[in-house]
């Protein structure tokens, strides 16, 4: 092939890419939806295979740590059992008081079950197998079965939806510490990391404190578990403090999710 012919071929390719780029971005929802629709079954197979292989490999590599983990969990379990007994008594008391005051129990959220079929680590988003067809719409919160907040739907297609994880750099919402009720803003900083920002300096925040969502801005319902504080940083200059948060969700161990369709 002659160089001049090659050059014109390359020029045609470049022009075609630019034109296709414009067209595909204009019809991006339809294009993505088309590809997701026939890729979903293959993605599901890959996801399940990856999930079980990762579990198998981690059990081999971490076999030494397992015994310590079992002992630690056993101690934790005993501690939790004693707490549950206390909570059950409180719950009964609460129920009695509610009945006496004529207050009905708060309705739980309306949930829709879904499964993860794809994930983009660098962008902190996942792909789930429910869409417009199942009554989903943008901004609906997504949680795990333990009511751990995962993210919200950012794009919805006919049969699929994209979920922006709370660790995504564009995510920010209100949250509070579960005991002291110290409020602040949870910001995603990428790579599955979170920052609890704008906490007033007067509030006390310590490592291992638990953070839940707040409903001030109406993005998420109140009380969804977000994670635990791992590092608090206070500056002498500013009037706020910050804390790094270890997210409670672990997508490599989670396959099933729930979408809150009404709250």
């Amino acid at each position: 092939m002659r160089p001049s012919r090659n050059k014109s071929k390359v020029l045609i390719v470049i022009l075609a890419i630019i034109l296709a780029g414009f067209l595909f971005n204009f019809f991006q929802k339809g294009v993505r939806s088309f590809f997701y629709s026939f890729s979903a079954p293959i993605q599901r197979v890959f996801w399940e295979a990856g999930d079980s292989t990762a579990d198998f490999l981690s059990s081999i590599f971490k076999s030494g740590e397992l015994k310590d983990e079992v002992d630690r969990l056993e101690a934790e379990k005993n501690d939790l059992i004693s707490q549950v007994v206390g909570f059950q008594e409180l719950s009964q008391e609460n129920e009695t008081l509610r009945e006496a005051l004529g207050i009905g129990l708060k309705n739980e959220f309306k949930l829709s079950f879904t499964q993860i079929i794809g994930k983009d680590i660098s962008q902190d988003f996942i792909l789930i197998d429910k869409g417009i067809k199942d009554g989903l719409s943008e901004d609906m919160p997504v949680i795990t079965e333990e009511k751990v907040l995962v993210g919200k739907i950012s794009e919805v297609y006919y049969k699929f939806s994209k979920v922006m994880l709370i660790s995504n750099k564009e995510s920010s919402f209100d949250a509070k510490e579960i005991n002291s009720l110290a409020g602040g803003v949870i910001k995603g900083i990428g790579s599955s990391k979170l920052l609890f920002d704008l906490i007033p300096k007067g509030e006390t925040i310590n490592n291992s404190d638990l953070i839940v969502s707040d409903c001030i801005s109406g993005i998420f319902p109140e009380g969804l578990f977000i994670g635990a504080v791992i590092n608090v940083s206070k500056s002498d200059v500013g009037s706020f403090q910050q804390a790094e948060i270890e997210p409670a969700f672990n997508l490599s161990k989670t396959k099933n999710l729930f979408i809150i369709t009404e709250f």
Binding site: M1, N6, K9, V10, V13, I14, I17, G21, F24, N25, Q28, V31, R32, F35, S39, I42, Q43, R44, F46, W47, A49, G50, D51, T53, A54, L57, I117, G118, K119, D120, I121, S122, Q123, F125, L127, S154, K162, M164, S191, S192, S252
Partner: protein
């Protein structure tokens, strides 16, 4: 044409493998990009006058864009640019002693 169809199928499955299987094995939040590896290797070992490597870069980039949150064209541009640079270097400065693709 046969080579192109085969590489489209390979690139499609590599993208799905990357976004649904390899994500379980991330190290420090990173996973290997097999589409990139495929495009790089193809362009290195391709015959000087063939342009299938460039087409592969377009298709590989397109599949990566479809299954990522970025606008369609982001990965295409990166891979095509990379393919051009590789072709330029391998055609002008590198001689691979064994038979090329």
């Amino acid at each position: 044409m046969k080579k192109l169809i085969i590489s489209i199928i390979i690139l499609y499955f590599l993208t799905l493998f990357q976004t649904s299987f390899l994500v379980h094995f991330s190290l420090f939040g990173m996973i290997p990009n097999f589409v990139l590896v495929f495009v790089v290797l193809w362009n290195i070992f391709e015959k000087g006058d063939s342009v299938i490597g460039i087409y592969n870069a377009v298709i590989g980039g397109f599949f990566l864009d479809i299954f990522s949150d970025r606008f369609i064209g982001f990965n295409i541009l990166i891979l095509v640019l990379l393919a051009f640079i590789l072709k330029l270097i391998s055609n002008r400065y590198v001689r691979i002693p064994f038979k090329k693709i």
